[in-house]
Symmetry: C2
Subunit: 365 residues, 2 copies
């Protein structure tokens, strides 16, 4: 294999592709990017077995061929090399990177060891604005489970109805967001890994452009801005949000979102060493009181609010409350409760496209 | 104690003062800031037993008094509070922070437990430009030892001769810098803790303003921009730089500094997993070759150079070489060697006020 290409383009492409490389694995080939030089381009491909990213770079190819090299190493090396023109060639000593009159060698692995990834486009697809896809990902993905106790919760549920409805939950809280579908011929629903969604979101560019996402046979494929992402989808039963979100509420509180955030942030400072990280809200006649209490001190504040329904005292993990409040966007937000031990929800006052549900914690104080 | 003051001023002052608080200690009082309200100001004081920082904030004092509260907690809390006017009052429940119609309480410790710090100004002093003091600190302090095996090496040696000469070394490398003294009545030399120097450097403002540093009885005191720093000095014998820096060299290499840095950075990427982090320089007729070699690959580059003296191959820790090269400032730098096993030095080509010495490593390759 031998090709000459622009160093900066190659560097950027390797850095983006290698996001799919496995880390801390016992199979070194999974930490590699595969380079394939053919006709007038070089195709870069990385996969961790679940997520795969492919990018193409223009090149003058003198000898076709393919080779694998550790993604992180190649990416870091090329980042430090701001040459306009570099020559890549394979030989006995590995992959030679030539620049000016210097040349360096990186250890390679044979391309045959690299897993085969299918880039076939299935029959099922959905089409939406790039900005809308970015929005539903951003509004939900942070609520996905982090640990492996229930692997399916490490993904977001995409339901194709009149609109796209996206749900994420981790057993303590739930996020729901929706957006317009321009057209679709999709399965009823898919469950997409959070990590894939984060990479798709990074790949998206112009908010107004359309994007088509293909799904079939437990796989997803999406192609934008010169990058192709292929990912396994999760199979199994996702918790039905209809069983979790209460249909009605006894207390509805409307209040200024940023004031509530900064008040809860102060309350959270005093309890950051505590295991439960508990903050207490008290909905009264015309305000919400925010309290936290620990060995190091206590916070007692109030934020003016429009309270509709019966009074209530409820405690929750301050982090979950802050995450949800920060993901909303309007000046005013609405908190809806039933009782101190029932799940409650946060929403924007006007635009109800997104919703956060949090399980409260019984407070012994 | 009760006072009213500007929230932002207090927040900034507490954040700066609490830099001197001890961390991870078994004596909670050492993690505290002491607040003393008297006449029309509040004095903030923190110390870890070695370094002490004092700042003063204007306040309307209704009741004089003093109290101690954890520095990090107070600093974080006040940072989240952007109120113009806050009221601080001590009572049964600790320190009450009042803002708008809310109030929060922080646990306090009695001021009597706080160690006494002397702010007496001694007879000895030196005067220099703030910019010059900042320069000599920045050019040396990063070479101080990090571990406790020889505690004295965790400080910089200040020698008062015609100019101020500052030395730092950690057993593998040495940094030397000098600057003009405007006047002085100082001891022959002092050894100042690196941490104190970093805080002094942060405190300095206008480069052209003069600053007076007082030293006496093993202590240092400096006062600028409304902040007073007091620090213990280290006592003992510092290694004499005259015994370490070779008086003459057999090979002198002049070459472009930034080109050498980026070449060594690339070489360093391939060896970052290795224990010795070895990069090899080879001074030839009209260039310096840069090599590194590891399991994952090898780098072989050359940088054009003016070589004066005999050829030489020498290996060293890439981090030490990069630290030294980055601390120099001119386009061209000079590397001076005697042999592959003798210490070598780095300097700017023209301004020789600073110097870095590095011990080479025998390379078995």
């Amino acid at each position: 294999m031998k090709f000459v290409c622009d160093g900066l383009s190659l560097s950027e492409a390797v850095t983006k592709t290698s996001k799919a490389c496995a880390v801390r694995t016992t199979a070194p080939i999974m930490e590699c990017v595969k380079l394939t030089a053919k006709s007038d381009e070089v195709v870069l491909l990385a996969t961790d077995g679940e997520l795969s990213i492919r990018k193409t770079v223009k090149a003058e190819v003198f000898e076709e061929g393919e080779v694998c090299v550790t993604g992180k190493l190649l990416s870091d090396f090329l980042t430090k090399l701001s040459e306009e023109e570099i020559t890549i060639r394979t030989g006995d000593r590995g992959m030679e990177i030539g620049y000016r009159d210097a040349s360096s060698f990186l250890q390679t692995l044979p391309a045959e060891e690299f897993p085969a990834i299918s880039f076939d486009v299935g029959e099922n697809y959905f089409v939406m604005k790039q900005g809308a896809l970015k929005k539903v990902i951003g509004e939900t993905v942070f609520c996905c489970a982090q640990d492996d106790s229930r692997p399916i919760l490490k993904g977001c549920l995409f339901e194709f109805k009149e609109r796209l409805e996206v749900t994420a939950l981790d057993g303590y809280r739930l996020a729901l967001s929706s957006a317009e579908l321009l057209s679709h011929n999709a399965e009823k629903s898919i469950i997409c890994p959070a990590r894939t969604l984060v990479e798709i979101s990074r790949m998206l560019g112009d908010d107004e452009k359309e994007i088509t996402v293909y799904t079939q046979g437990g796989n997803l494929l999406v192609n934008a801005e010169g990058t192709t992402i292929v990912s396994r989808l999760y199979q199994g039963e996702f918790i039905r949000k209809e069983n979790v979100i209460p249909p009605s509420f006894l207390t509805e509180v409307t209040l200024p979102r940023l004031e509530l955030i900064s008040s809860v942030e102060r309350a959270a400072i005093l309890i950051r060493g505590d295991k439960n990280n508990l903050v207490t809200l008290e909905a009264g006649a015309d305000d919400v009181k925010i309290r936290s209490n620990s060995d190091v001190g206590n916070v007692f504040e109030s934020v003016p609010a429009h309270v509709n329904g019966k009074d209530l005292i409820i405690s929750m993990n301050a982090k979950y409350l802050l995450d949800g409040l920060r993901a909303l966007s309007e000046e005013e937000c609405v908190l809806s409760f039933n009782s101190a031990i029932s799940p409650f929800i946060l929403q924007n006052k006007d635009n109800k496209e997104s919703l956060y549900l949090i399980l409260p914690v019984r407070n012994a104080q």
